[in-house]
């Protein structure tokens, strides 16, 4: 619940202005952008996600560092479990790398 998870905005939906597909370490989920309405992210932007809501825009470097922090804190598994658990949209399978 207190995890801040970095994700990249992949897709916005014209009919649903507050919903976006984000990718976190290869996993794609829908998150809510409503709390960034004053500074809406665009496709390709990085955001920090709390409980399914994007809470701040960050740089790609900061996103990388935040993921490193989660790994160092031993919380990366928990974070991915949380991301997979977001039920706002259907889960997309991780892309083969």
């Amino acid at each position: 619940m207190c995890l801040a998870i970095p994700g990249k905005v992949i897709e916005l939906f014209p009919g649903m202005p507050y919903l976006a597909t984000v990718e976190v370490a290869g996993v794609r989920r829908k998150v809510d952008l409503g709390l960034l309405e004053n500074d809406m992210p665009q496709s390709g932007d990085w955001v920090l996600i709390h409980v399914g809501f994007a809470m701040s825009k960050i740089s790609e470097q900061d996103a990388f560092e935040q993921m490193q922090t989660l790994i160092m804190l031993g919380e990366s598994e928990q974070a991915m479990q949380e991301v997979r658990g977001y039920g706002l949209g259907e889960a997309d399978e991780p892309k083969p790398s």
Partner: protein
């Protein structure tokens, strides 16, 4: 040293630790409180205490939402969910937290419909999928999660969803800091300010700590280097006799916070006159409740909540630990009756609680070395 081998930037970390040792006046004892439970966890996880000078003490603050929730609130929420028409939804962090009548997970084993959600909007989604049931979202958290709950309630109203309500346990960090500073047995020199709460509230709400209480506060990130740099910034202020609010975590925390998040929170929530904090007692204007304009989505306005009050066992000294008067291991129950597997007191409940963090990283280390064969 294990610490510097394992983590990034070992050279910079060493230089920063050296700077801390240089700045810390050896004739003085420093007491700094990290407010956020995430920082507490990181401090133990990274073994930061091992590289700080002995006269610099970190006091663990009240910023663990699971830890400060009074046990009776859990019993209240679960009592309402005994109705077979009600689905109880909560974050995974809540599932193992014991009420007097057991944890949500234990109630699930007894047949209650309990669902883990990772987002409040997922609880709303369950409501849409189960129109003949009532979905109660058991909301906890500081300003980091409260805006998401607020926006979910706004969405429920806009979409006309009537089988959804929120049992609101959201708390606010500033009154808790004030309560700690008002405590007569408390002596603190400075604060490491919470990182993620500050992405929402910004840095201005801390200004009174500097202006009125003359204590420096630095909003900090969560990496070892972030926290060490924050300690350097605090020591520099103390050395210069200054008290200011500084932001070490600028890459994430804007000085003004997140206006859209604050607007959502203010639109849906208002301050309760008072609220009970586990370990700290009643604190005025320290928690949020749902405004009358959203009464339909307020579990407490919609249903009759029993209002269970459970006092923690007297032997558990959570309040003293929470205020930094006692170290976790100085509590009579620590590691005996009270362990992370069977928590008696508030601070053993979550991995971000200071007793649980201390138990996981320090106590086990100490036990292991005391059992080891001599070399």
């Amino acid at each position: 040293m294990k610490f510097v081998d394992e983590f990034r930037d070992p050279v910079v970390i060493n230089q920063t630790a050296e700077e801390i040792r240089r700045l810390a006046d050896s004739g003085r004892h420093y007491r700094m409180m990290e407010v956020c439970g995430g920082h507490t966890h990181a401090i133990y996880r990274f073994g930061l205490k091992d590289i700080l000078p002995e006269n610099l003490e970190l006091i663990h603050g009240p910023g663990c939402p699971v830890c400060v929730l009074p046990m009776g609130r859990i019993d209240d929420g679960l009592a309402l969910a005994k109705d077979s028409n009600v689905i109880f939804a909560a974050f995974g962090d809540m599932m193992r937290v014991p009420g007097e009548q057991g944890s949500p997970l234990e109630h699930k084993a007894r047949g209650m419909d309990v669902r883990i959600v990772y987002s409040p909007s997922d609880a709303l989604k369950i409501a849409k999928a189960n129109p003949d049931k009532h979905i109660m979202f058991f909301a906890i958290g500081f300003e980091t999660t409260a805006p998401s709950t607020a926006l979910t309630i706004m969405r429920a109203k806009a979409e006309g969803i009537h089988n959804f309500s929120v049992f609101c346990n959201h708390v606010t960090i500033i009154p808790a800091i004030r309560a700690i500073l008002d405590s007569p047995d408390m002596r603190l020199d400075a604060f490491i300010g919470p990182g993620h709460v500050s992405t929402v509230i910004g840095c201005r709400p801390y200004e009174w700590i500097a202006a009125d209480e003359h204590k420096p506060i630095v909003v900090s990130g969560f990496e070892p280097l972030d926290m060490l740099q924050s300690i350097v910034m605090l020591l520099r202020q103390l050395e210069a006799g200054e008290a200011r609010v500084e932001n070490q975590y600028k890459r994430v925390v804007p000085w003004e916070g997140n206006r859209a998040a604050l607007k959502a929170m203010n639109g849906v929530f208002e301050l309760r006159p008072y609220f009970e904090w586990r370990g700290l007692g009643f604190i005025s204007q320290s928690a949020l409740r749902i405004r009358d304009s959203y009464a339909e989505f307020d579990t407490e306005q919609r249903f009759s909540v029993p209002g269970v009050r459970v006092t923690d066992p007297k032997a558990a000294q959570c309040g003293e630990v929470l205020k930094g008067v006692l170290k976790p291991a100085q509590c009579k129950l620590f590691g005996k009756e009270c362990t992370p597997e069977h928590p008696v007191g508030a601070l053993m409940v979550s991995s971000e609680g200071s007793c649980a963090a201390y138990y996981t990283y320090e106590h086990r280390k100490a036990m292991a070395s005391s059992l080891a064969w001599p070399a």
